[in-house]
Amino acid sequence: MTGGGAGIRVEGLVKDFGGLRALEDVTLRVEPGERRAIIGPNGAGKTTLFNIITGIFPPTAGRILFDGRDITDLPPHRRAQLGLGRTFQITTLFPKLSVRDNVLLAVQAADPARFTLHRRVEAYPHLFRQAEELLERWGLRDRAAAPVRFLSHGEQRQVEILLALAIRPKVLLLDEPAAGLSPAETATLADLIRGLPRETTILLIEHDMDVAFTLTDRISVLHYGRVVAEGPPDAVRRDPHVAAIYLGTATPKA
């Protein structure tokens, strides 16, 4: 299912968008197998951090270490091949393709057959088997033939995670997996995330405090591009500065 866990470290990460500093000297150290939540108000730089870790765009300064290896200059697909998987806050699937074909593309991504052009995909039955297994485990077997755009939002959020898992990530970045879900759907999704193999390192951006606090070992609080607090959920919950940020009385540090 997974290729074991790997640690991820970011050191002194800075990101400027024109005159706007989105990230200001962010340093995080996530141990192999750890589950870490990144919380913070809108615009704190959480998704920017994910985009830099996965290589969607480069940092202005700083570096990223995956399993001890500097990946700062690697393109996104090379990072994915090393075992870095992610989901998107805004559902990013293959809308016109069936659920099965979505999963097949994800399974194929981690297979040596992915560059083959002289044989039909049916010549690789193990890809189909892996896809069926994933569909089965995630309870999407019944929906396998449906184009993904016809799925409910909740089901699409599930496929979103399923695709990231199909490449057997060592580190999984989940960007607001529960975005737009009902409380019942959120609870189901939380159970699914809780059931992921324990060795998989997980970074989770989440607005839903219950999800963030119950699913993770440690929490980092991002505010105006800085890590302003970090620790186990209980400690962060009691931190007066964090409470102030969420109640809106905190101002950015000079």
Partner: protein, 313 residues
């Protein structure tokens, strides 16, 4: 699925039997349809499968035609060498051009492919001593294959049919291969493909090269068909026309563009006998298709007559 195979067999048999029933005029028209069907299918690999809208695909069609034409006229009648060169030159040029075009997306991709094709058109038009300029190169004779002359309409038709069938077979494997499925994934979501671990650029590059190769093959057939090559082969009008064939027939399928090519060639043939304003009509068709049938003729047919489980590509 069985019905699809059945329809394919019937169509194949009809194509095989055509010379027995069609006059040489209509056989010539059918030959032209097959050539443009191949051209349109090659573009669809880029447009329909990979999601890259090229407005300069005729660059490779024209390069194939000019290469084979020039070799036949100026060097020798060695069929295999002329044909291999006619495929190799567009393929090699695509290796270079694609480095430039793939830096752009969407409308910018459209503009840069158009610009590169116009450069080739300019060379063909201006370099009189080499390309014959505006007059082009007439008098290109059809080859003799293993003692079998392709000069007559019927042997040439079968030759084109065999090449078309072979290319269709190869393309049908490519689009169903892991690489072909990945191209569709890129069309649907480039971002998702990248974070899954696909080197999106490499796939788009391969698709561009393959599309050029098959367009070159179509260009070679067309130069033998007409016995002539001129700058018109490289004109933006041809690029627009083949784009319309793909969209009219149904982008993202193999047979859709072939169907679109058949319809456009037929319409052009009949309408241009009655009116000078053929291009205006072409424009109106384009508007009508994009507004009312964005999935093309094949899309409409499939809705009306579903052929079992068929994943939309």
């Amino acid at each position: 699925m069985r019905r699809a195979v059945g329809i394919g067999l019937v169509l194949g048999l009809l194509l095989l039997a055509s010379p027995a029933v069609l006059s040489s005029y209509y056989l010539g028209l059918l030959t032209k349809m097959l050539i443009f069907a191949l051209f349109a299918m090659s573009l669809d690999l880029l447009l329909g499968y990979t999601g890259l809208p090229s407005l300069g695909h005729t660059a490779y069609f024209g390069l194939g035609a000019y290469t084979t034409g020039l070799l036949t006229l100026r060097v020798a009648q060695t069929f295999w060498i002329n044909v291999l060169a006619g495929i190799a030159v567009p393929t090699l040029v695509a290796l270079g051009f694609s480095l430039l075009t793939l830096r752009a997306r969407g409308t910018y991709f459209l503009m840069i492919t158009l610009a590169l094709a116009q450069v080739l058109w300019g060379i063909a038009f201006g370099w009189r001593s080499f390309t014959g300029g505006d007059d082009g190169l007439p008098g290109i004779t059809r080859p003799t294959l293993a003692g079998w002359s392709l000069t007559g309409e019927i042997p040439f038709y079968y030759f084109v049919l065999v090449v078309f069938g072979g290319c269709l077979f190869l393309l049908s494997i490519v689009v169903r291969s892991p690489l072909g499925r990945a191209l569709v994934g890129i069309r649907e979501s480039e971002m998702r493909m990248r974070v899954l671990g696909y080197n999106v650029w490499a796939y788009q590059y391969v698709a561009s090269i393959l599309a050029a190769l098959f367009a070159g093959a179509a260009g070679i057939l067309f130069v033998y068909y007409n016995g002539y090559v001129g700058p018109a082969y490289l004109s933006v009008v041809v690029s627009g026309q083949v784009l319309l064939m793909v969209i009219l027939g149904g982008a993202g399928t193999l047979l859709g563009p072939a169907l679109g090519a058949g319809i456009i060639v037929l319409l052009e043939n009949f309408l241009s006998a009655y009116t000078e304003r053929w291009l205006t009509i072409l424009g109106l068709i384009y508007v009508a298709v994009t507004l009312f049938a964005p999935r093309g003729v094949l899309g409409i047919l499939r809705e009306r007559f579903p052929l079992g489980r068929r994943a939309p590509a």
